[in-house]
Symmetry: C3
Subunit: 361 residues, 3 copies
C-alpha cells in the first residue's frame, strides 16, 4: 500500500521540459474580493467599484492583479516548492487579462531549467508557470526559480540547463487589459490628480502609512490562496526546531502577503497606478513575521508610452518595503548591494497609469 | 515635482460651503456581508436571510445598516479627518434607503461650519455628508464634527460659522425602508416574541454577552471600510511615541467597530429592532484597544408610532458599551456627567421594530 | 415588564417530543465560501471550482459539507445548549443534499430524549435536528445529546426517555449528492491519484501538516456560523472565573472549528474524499485554545460499495486531531480507552470517494 501523503518533489524528481498541470482549480468570487479588501485595505478605484471599471471600458471591477497572482502561484507550491530551501526569484511576470469574479483559474508549469548545486544536496529548479481561465484564456505568465532539496545526495541528474531571461520586461512586450481606455477616467473620484506624465525617473515617494501584521491575517490570506507551505502555519514546529534547521522561531509570512501590503500602502503616492502589468523581479530580502509593521517607499525607474494610445502610459516602479522602520529617508541597500535588516522586499514592476493630457484635450 | 503623497486637509484648508466629492467608490457585495457576519456575529433576521427579507416586502436581504454607514463614513477620512485630533460628534444621521449587494456607494460632503479654537492650533470642522448609490439614490445623511490641526498657526481663517442642528431626530423625520411591511413578520423565526409595544421608556436591558476584540479583527473591519486613519493600524509608531504626543501606546480601535459590536450584542434583548433608522448622537467616551471585552446595556428613551401604519413603530434607544466590565448594574455617567473608565460608547439612536397587534389582529 | 434577554432553556423546560423551530434563517453566499476557504485552507476540488463540480454533474461548486453543518448546528445553540454543561455526542448525522450559494437554511429540532441525572442538578437532552433549505429540501439530519443545567433542582421532570440510535450509519442508509457522477473525475487536477480501492481497512495516514489557531480566527468562524455560545468569545469572564466554575481560563474553541481544520489537513492523504456524507460519532476529547497547533491522522475503518454504481464508493474514516503533537506515531487512546492530553478530537465518519476502475475502463 503506497503512502497516501504527498511528499512533494525533490530535486532529482524534476525533468527538463516536464509539464505539470497543477491542482486545485479555484473559482474566484466576490467573497475573495471582500477578503482581499479586508486584508490589505486597497483603494485603487478600478478594482473597488463596478461603475468605475465601466467608465474605463471594463465589463466590471476586476479582482486585484495580485489576488490573481497569489491564486495562480499558490497552486504551484505542492509540486514545485514543498521541499524548497529558498525562493530565489521571479522574472518576466506579465498579466495577460483581467480576472473577474466567477472566473475559474488553474495553473500549468513547465520545467525550463535545472542546475544541481556543487554540494549535491540541493539544486535550482526553473519553472515557467502560466495561469489560465477555464476557457483557456491566459491570465498570468511568469518564470520562477527555487532551490530544492535532493531526497538522495547520490541521485544522478539526467540533464541540466540554465535558462536565460530578461532582467526587465521590455515596455513593448507589456500586455494591458483589453478594452481598458482611460479617456473618461474620473480623477476626482480616484482620489489623486497625479497622472503618468507627473512622474519622472529618479523620483522617490515615501508612502507614509504603516500597517502592523497579525498572525491571523497572514494565515487567512495564505489559506485563501490555497498556498500550503508549512512554514507559514506551524508554530509548534518552529518552537521545536533547533538552530541548525533553518530555524526562524516564528511562522514566516508568505512573501506575497508583503507584496500586497506594500501595493496597498503605495496608493498614497501612486493612487492612479491602476494596474500592475508586470513584475520584472522581486527579492524577499529579510523575513517578515507577525508583529512587524510594514512601511514602503517607491522610486520611479522608467516611464514609457504605450503604442498607439495617449490615454495611458506605463511606469517602471521599484517599491521597497520595510519592517519596523518608517520610509522617510528611503532606507536602501548600500553601494555593495547589502540591505539593512529593515528591508523585507525589493520589487521591480510595471504599472499602467492614465495620462492627464487626454483629460485636458 | 509636487509631492505625490496626500497630506490631508488642515484646518485652514477648509472653506465654508466647500463641497468634497470623496474617493473611492465601492461596490458592496455578498463578500462584505459575510465578513460583517464573521466580525460581529449579528443575528438580525432581515439582514441574514433573503427569504426573511422577502416576507417583509424587501427585494432581498439588505446589508446591515451599520455596514453601509462604515463604508460611507470611511470615504470621508482622507479629506476630513486625516489630521483630526478628535472626533467630536455625529448628529441627524438618517438612513434613507437600504443597501443591497451589488450597489456601489460614494460619498459627498459639504463644509457647513468652521470654528477656530482660541489656541490657534486647531479648529472644529462641521461637515454634512451624504452617501449615494450610483444611480443617485441617497442612502445615508449625517452631520459630523471633528477637531482638526492647523498646518500653520499663523494662517488666517476666512469665514467662520457654527451650525445648529437637532439633538434628536424628530420621529416624523425618520425615513423607514421603502416597501418594508411587517404584517407577515415571522416572530418565531426571528428568535424573540418582544414587539414594539413591549418596550416602555425607562426600561433598561442588560445584553449579557461579552466579546473580546482582537487586533486582527478590528483591522480587517477598518480596512474593509477603506478607512485609512493611521491610528488604527500602526503599532510601531505607537511604540515610538512619547507621552506628549497623544500617545495611547496601542492601536486605537475604530469607534465604528465598537458600535457594530454593541449592536450585535444588543440582539439579546432587542432582537426585533430590525433597522437602525437614525443616530441622534454618539460619543466614544474612552478608547478601546485589542484585548478589551465589550459588553453592552440599553435604555429605552422614547417610543413613537409611525404615521399611517400599524405594522411597526420606532424606539429611541440609548446603548452604552463597556470594556472589561459586565453590564449588570448598568454602569453609567454620574450626576455630573462623568463616565466611569469602563464606558467606551454612549449611542443614542432610533430603531424600527414590528408591532405585535397586527400579528394578533 | 418581562425580561427581554433570552436566558435559554434549562433542563426542566424541555418536553419529550417538543418541536423547536430555530431562529435565525441564513442565506449562504460566495462570501461564506471565501471565508471558509481563508479559515481552513481546504483544497478539495469539487468545492473549490465550479468547473470541477460541473464535471461530476453538479450544477456548481457546493459549499463545504462542514460549513453547512456549522450553520445548521449554530441555530440550535440558543434553545438547546445555552445552559449546557457538556456536549456529550452526535449520532446518525447524514448529509441529504448539497448546499449552494444562494440557499437559505433553517433548522428544526425535536426533543427525542430526556434523562435527569441522579444529582438533580442536570439532565441529558437528546435532540433530533434537521437543517432545511427554504423550499423544504432536507440538507442535514442528526442526533445530538447535551448535558443541561436545571434552573431549579427541585423541579420535577414530567416524562423521561432514553432513545436508542445506531453507533454507525449503515452504508446503505447513506445519501450521496443527487446527480454526482465521478465517471469523468479529473484525477490530475484533483491533486492525488489515490481512489476508493486504494484504501483498505486498518490503513493509517499521518496527514503531516500542522496549523496553529489564533483567537481572531476561531471567533470569526464561530460568529460566521451565528453560534453564540459565550464560552468562545468572552475572555474577561474567563479571567474572572474561580477554579470551582468549570474554569478554563481561556476562550474555548468551538469543536466544529477543530473538525473543519482536521478535515482540511486530511486533504494530504485523503484528497479524493470528495464529500463527507455522514458522521457516525465524534468526541471533543480535550479542549482546544488559541495558540494550539493542530495535527491529524486518520485510520480507514471500513470500505463499502454503493448500490448500482461503480464510479464511487464510501470509506468509513476515523480522524484523530491532536494539539501541539505531530501525528507521526498515531497517538491514540490506550487499551483502557484513556486518551493522551494531546488528542482533541476523535471523529468517526463516512466519505464518498471516486473509484479508479471507471477511469481505466
Amino acid at each position: 500500500m503506497a503512502t497516501k501523503t504527498d511528499p512533494g518533489n525533490f530535486f532529482e524528481d524534476f525533468r527538463l521540459d516536464q509539464e505539470i498541470r497543477h491542482a486545485t482549480p479555484r473559482t474566484v468570487t466576490a467573497g475573495d474580493v471582500a477578503l482581499y479588501q479586508a486584508l490589505y485595505g486597497s483603494r485603487f478605484p478600478v478594482q473597488s467599484a463596478d461603475s468605475f471599471a465601466h467608465k474605463i471600458g471594463l465589463r466590471d471591477a476586476p479582482v486585484d492583479d495580485l489576488l490573481a497572482f497569489h491564486i495562480v502561484f499558490g497552486k504551484t507550491v505542492p509540486e514545485i516548492s514543498l521541499n524548497a530551501v529558498a525562493n530565489l526569484g521571479y522574472a518576466e511576470c506579465r498579466w495577460m487579462a483581467p480576472v473577474y469574479p466567477g472566473d475559474t483559474l488553474h495553473t500549468v508549469s513547465r520545467v525550463i531549467g535545472l542546475k544541481e548545486n556543487s554540494n549535491k544536496k540541493t539544486g535550482v529548479v526553473y519553472v515557467h508557470s502560466q495561469g489560465y481561465k477555464d476557457g483557456g484564456e491566459l491570465v498570468l505568465d511568469y518564470i520562477r526559480w527555487v532551490m530544492v532539496r535532493k531526497r538522495d545526495e547520490a541521485a544522478a541528474i539526467a540533464a541540466e540547463r540554465v535558462p536565460t531571461f530578461n532582467a526587465v520586461v521590455a515596455a513593448e512586450r507589456l500586455r494591458t487589459p483589453p478594452g481598458a481606455d482611460f479617456a473618461h477616467y474620473d480623477w476626482a473620484l480616484a482620489g489623486s490628480p497625479h497622472g503618468w506624465e507627473d512622474y519622472a525617473p529618479g523620483e522617490k515617494i515615501d508612502h507614509v502609512d504603516g500597517i502592523t501584521i497579525e498572525e491571523a491575517e497572514h494565515m487567512l490570506a495564505t489559506r485563501l490562496y490555497q498556498n500550503t507551505a508549512r512554514v507559514h502555519f506551524d508554530q509548534f514546529r518552529q518552537n521545536q526546531m533547533s538552530p541548525g534547521q533553518e530555524k526562524l522561531g516564528r511562522r514566516l509570512i508568505y512573501g506575497g502577503h508583503v507584496i500586497s501590503m506594500a501595493r496597498a500602502i503605495s496608493f498614497n503616492g501612486l493612487a492612479n497606478a491602476a494596474f500592475v502589468v508586470a513584475i520584472n523581479g522581486g527579492r524577499h530580502v529579510n523575513p517578515t513575521v507577525a508583529g512587524n509593521t510594514i512601511y514602503a517607499w517607491s522610486e520611479v525607474l522608467d516611464r514609457a508610452e504605450l503604442e498607439d494610445r495617449s490615454d495611458a502610459g506605463v511606469l517602471r516602479i521599484r517599491t521597497v518595503a520595510l519592517k519596523d522602520c518608517p520610509a522617510a529617508g528611503f532606507p536602501d541597500k548600500d553601494a555593495a548591494g547589502k540591505y539593512p535588516d529593515s528591508v523585507v522586499l525589493d520589487l521591480d514592476y510595471w504599472v499602467m497609469m492614465p495620462r492627464r493630457e487626454k483629460r485636458r484635450g
